[in-house]
C-alpha cells in the first residue's frame, strides 16, 4: 500500500539532535520525535539532513556538446552530489542567448526531473561581448531566467557591463561575471608566478581577475544593481569583494571546490586534468578563499562542473580544454576543506551550498531552512563515511576529475526533491 508520507527516520538536521522529518505533498509536514513519524520510512539514523544543495555554476553542455555531458547525465551527477537545483551555464552551442535555447534546456531539465535545472542566459549575443542578448525575453520565458552570464568569457567592455547591470534590474536579475581581463590573459595557461616562469607556461595573473572585479563592483554601486562574481580565485579578489560589501554594494561571490583545495603545484606534472579557468592558485590564495567563505565574504560554493571528453584532456597542456568535473565531489571537498578544518559548521555549510546560492539565483523552492512548511528539498549525508574517487563510476559522461584516486570524506546517502527521493542509499532512485 503506497504511503503519501515519507519519513526520514532518526535524521539529525544540521548535525543536531535526531528527529523524524515527515514529508508529505512535497513539503516538510512535520518534524517529530525520533521514531514517532508514520509513513514510508527511510532509515537515516546517524545521518545528517541538510537543505538540498544548489549549484549556481554548472556546465551541462547541452545543446552542442552532448559527447561531454547532457542535461540528463549532468542531472544524474548533480543528484548524486546532493544537489536539488543547478544553474546551467550559457556557453552551449548554440549559445543560450535566446528564449528558445533557455526553454529547451529548461524542458530537458523538467523531463529528466532529478534536479531543477535553471538555465543561465547569456549576457551578450553569442558571448561576443558586443551586443546585449534579449535578456527580457529570457526572463519572461518559461525558463524564468534570473541569472545572466557570459561565463567562459568576460564581459570586458565596461559600457556593455554597465548596461547589462542596469537592464536586469527590470526583472530582479543578476549578472554573473567571469572576471578575466582578456588583454592580460592572452594565451594564459596557469597562475602567473614563479612556477609559470619555470614551466614556460603563459601566466594568468591574479590582477586580471581582481581588476575586473574592482571595476564591476564600482559599476554595480553606480547603477545600484546586483553583481555576482563567478569562481573567485585569489586573495586579492577576496579583499575587493570584502571592501565592496562593506560599502553596501550588492555583490555576491562564489568559490569552486577545487580552488578551496588544489594549488598550482599540480601543474608541474603538465597533466591537463589540472588545467582550469581561472587557474589553480597558491596556498596563500586557498587559505584566503577558505577564510572568506567561512566569514561570508564569499557567499557560495559553486562547482563550475566542466565536463570534457577524454580526447580534450589526453593531450599536451596547451592544447587541452579548461575545466574539471565537480558535481559529485563538491560536498566531499567542502567537508574536507571547511568542516574538517572547523571553519564551518553544518548549518553554515548549508547556508553556503544551499541557502545563499538559491537566493543569488532566485531559485524558487530551494534553499529553505529545514522547517515545517518548507519545500522538501533535502539532502541526507553520512559525515563519517569516506570513499575513493573513481571517475569511471561517475554518472557524468566525462571523466576529468582532478581527485581521481583520492580518498574523500562525507557521502551523499539520500536526496529528496520536492518530497520525492532522487537518491536512496547512495544510488539514483528509479
Amino acid at each position: 500500500m503506497p504511503h503519501d508520507k515519507t519519513v526520514l527516520r532518526g535524521v539529525r538536521p544540521y548535525g543536531e539532535d535526531p528527529v523524524d522529518i515527515v514529508v508529505a505533498a512535497g513539503v516538510i509536514a512535520e518534524i517529530a520525535t525520533a521514531g514517532s513519524g508514520a509513513g514510508r520510512v527511510i532509515e537515516a539514523s546517524g545521518l545528517i539532513a541538510l537543505p538540498g544543495f544548489v549549484d549556481i555554476h554548472t556546465h551541462l553542455r547541452e545543446p552542442g556538446r552532448e559527447d561531454a555531458e547532457t542535461v540528463e547525465t549532468g542531472s544524474r551527477a548533480a543528484a548524486l552530489g546532493g544537489f536539488t537545483a543547478v544553474f546551467a551555464m550559457a556557453n552551449t552551442s548554440p549559445v543560450a542567448d535566446t528564449a528558445g535555447v533557455v526553454e529547451q534546456v529548461w524542458h530537458l531539465g523538467k523531463a529528466t526531473g532529478l534536479v531543477d535545472v535553471f538555465p543561465v542566459g547569456a549576457v551578450t549575443i553569442g558571448l561576443g561581448g558586443e551586443q546585449l542578448a534579449e535578456l527580457g525575453a529570457m526572463a519572461t520565458s518559461a525558463a524564468q531566467v534570473r541569472m545572466f552570464s557570459d561565463d567562459g568569457k568576460c564581459v570586458h567592455d565596461a559600457a556593455i557591463m554597465r548596461r547589462a547591470l542596469e537592464y536586469v534590474k527590470a526583472f530582479d536579475g543578476v549578472i554573473a561575471q567571469h572576471a578575466q581581463e582578456p588583454r592580460l590573459t592572452v594565451d594564459a595557461q596557469m597562475n602567473e608566478g614563479v612556477l609559470s616562469g619555470q614551466l614556460g607556461l603563459t601566466g594568468w595573473p591574479g590582477v586580471a581577475e581582481e581588476s575586473i572585479i574592482a571595476r564591476d563592483v564600482l559599476l554595480a554601486e553606480h547603477v545600484d544593481s546586483r553583481l555576482h562574481v563567478c569562481h573567485v580565485s585569489t586573495a586579492g579578489s577576496v579583499e575587493v569583494v570584502k571592501w565592496a560589501k562593506s560599502r553596501g554594494i550588492k555583490v555576491t561571490a562564489e568559490v569552486t571546490p577545487h580552488h578551496l583545495l588544489l594549488t598550482e603545484d599540480l601543474v608541474a606534472s603538465y597533466d591537463p586534468v589540472y588545467k582550469v579557468n581561472p587557474p589553480l592558485r597558491t596556498s596563500t590564495d586557498v587559505t584566503a578563499l577558505r577564510a572568506a567563505l567561512a566569514e561570508g565574504t564569499i557567499d557560495a560554493i559553486a562547482t563550475d562542473h566542466a565536463p570534457h571528453p577524454h580526447e580534450d584532456k589526453d593531450c599536451e597542456w596547451a592544447a587541452a580544454a579548461f575545466g574539471m568535473l565537480g558535481l559529485q565531489t563538491a560536498f566531499s571537498i567542502a567537508v574536507l576543506t571547511m568542516i574538517d578544518s572547523g571553519l564551518l559548521d553544518w548549518r553554515a555549510l548549508a547556508d553556503r551550498m544551499s541557502v545563499r546560492p538559491a537566493r543569488i539565483g532566485r531559485a524558487l523552492g530551494h534553499g529553505h531552512d529545514l522547517k515545517v512548511g518548507a519545500p522538501a528539498n533535502i539532502c541526507v549525508v553520512d559525515p563519517r563515511a569516506s570513499w575513493v574517487v573513481e571517475p569511471a563510476t561517475f554518472a557524468s559522461k566525462s571523466r576529468n576529475s582532478p581527485y581521481a584516486g583520492m580518498t574523500l570524506p562525507g557521502k551523499i546517502i539520500h536526496v529528496l526533491k520536492a518530497g520525492k527521493p532522487t537518491v536512496e542509499g547512495g544510488d539514483l532512485a528509479c
Binding site: S196, S269, C315, A318
Partner: protein, 316 residues
Amino acid sequence: MRHLLSAGDLDVVSACLILDTAAQLASVTDRTVKKFPTLRGRTVVNLFFEDSTRTRISFEIAAKRLSADVINFAAKGSSVSKGESLKDTALTLEAMGADAVVIRHGSSGAPHRLATAGWIQGSVVNAGDGTHEHPTQALLDAFTIRHHLRDGMGDLAGVRVAIVGDILHSRVARSNVLLLRTLGAHVTVVAPPTLLPYGVSQWPCAVSYDLDEVLPHVDAVMMLRVQSERMHAAYFPSVNEYSRRYGLDIRRMGLLPPHAIVLHPGPMNRGMEISADVADGERAVMVEQVANGVSIRMAVLYLLLGGITDDGKKEI
C-alpha cells in the same frame, strides 16, 4: 637516465658525465670513418612539430654517427591544432618500435607529457618545448664554455655568464640558467623588465636591466635571438631602441674582459641583438657551438640508449 626533459633534472655528476662523454665523442669528427656501431639496430625518431632544420640535422647526424636508424617525422602543418595528434603520433611511433623520440614542440611540457602519459615506452629527448626548455642547447653551451675557459675539464665553478635578451620567451635561457648553476657558474640574466618572467627574482641567477654594467664582470656572454614580433606586442618600443640598449656591438665588446667569449644559440638577427662585426669576430664561438651540438647529442643518445634501461629490463 631514462629521458632528458629538463636541464634541471641533471645533477653535477650526470651533467659532467654528458660533457665528458661528448668530449671523447668529439674526436670522431677527425676520423675518416665518422661512425660508431654503438646504437646499431636502434631507432631514433626526430619528431618535430616546429620547424628547426638546424636542431633536427644536429640530432640526425648524432644518431647516425652512432649507427642508429633515424626517422624524421615532421608533424608541422598536419592537424596539430587539435592536440590529440601528439598522442596518435606517439602511439604510431610506439607501434613502429622507436627506441628514442627526440621531440621539438611548440607547447611547453609536451616532451614531459610524451614521457609520462604512458603512450610510449622509449626514451624521450626534449629538443625544445615552447617557452620551457632546450636542455641539449644548454649542454652544448656549457661544453663550449668549458672548452674555452676551463680547458675542457670538470665543472664551471666560478665562471661568470651573462644571458642577454628575451628571457621571458626563451627555452634556451631557462635550461642554461638551471644547468650553468648546477655546474657552479654564476649567471646574470640581462633584459628589459618586460622580457623577464614574473618571479625571475626567485631564479638561481642574478638579474640586471643594464648590459653595460654587467659586461665588464663576465667571462662569457650569451646573446639570445629577439623576435621582432615581440615589438608588436609592446615588449619594447622599437627595434632600434632594443638594439641600442641590449645589442652587442663593437663598443660593448670593449667592455668585456679580454678572455671573454660570445655565444649565440642561433639563428642570429644581425644588427638586432648582435652586430655583424661581433658575430664574425674571433671571440664569437657560434660555429663551435654547432659542432659541439653534435657531440653533445651523441653523448645524450649514447647515455640514454647505450646501456640497459632504468627499469632493469635487459634488451638484446
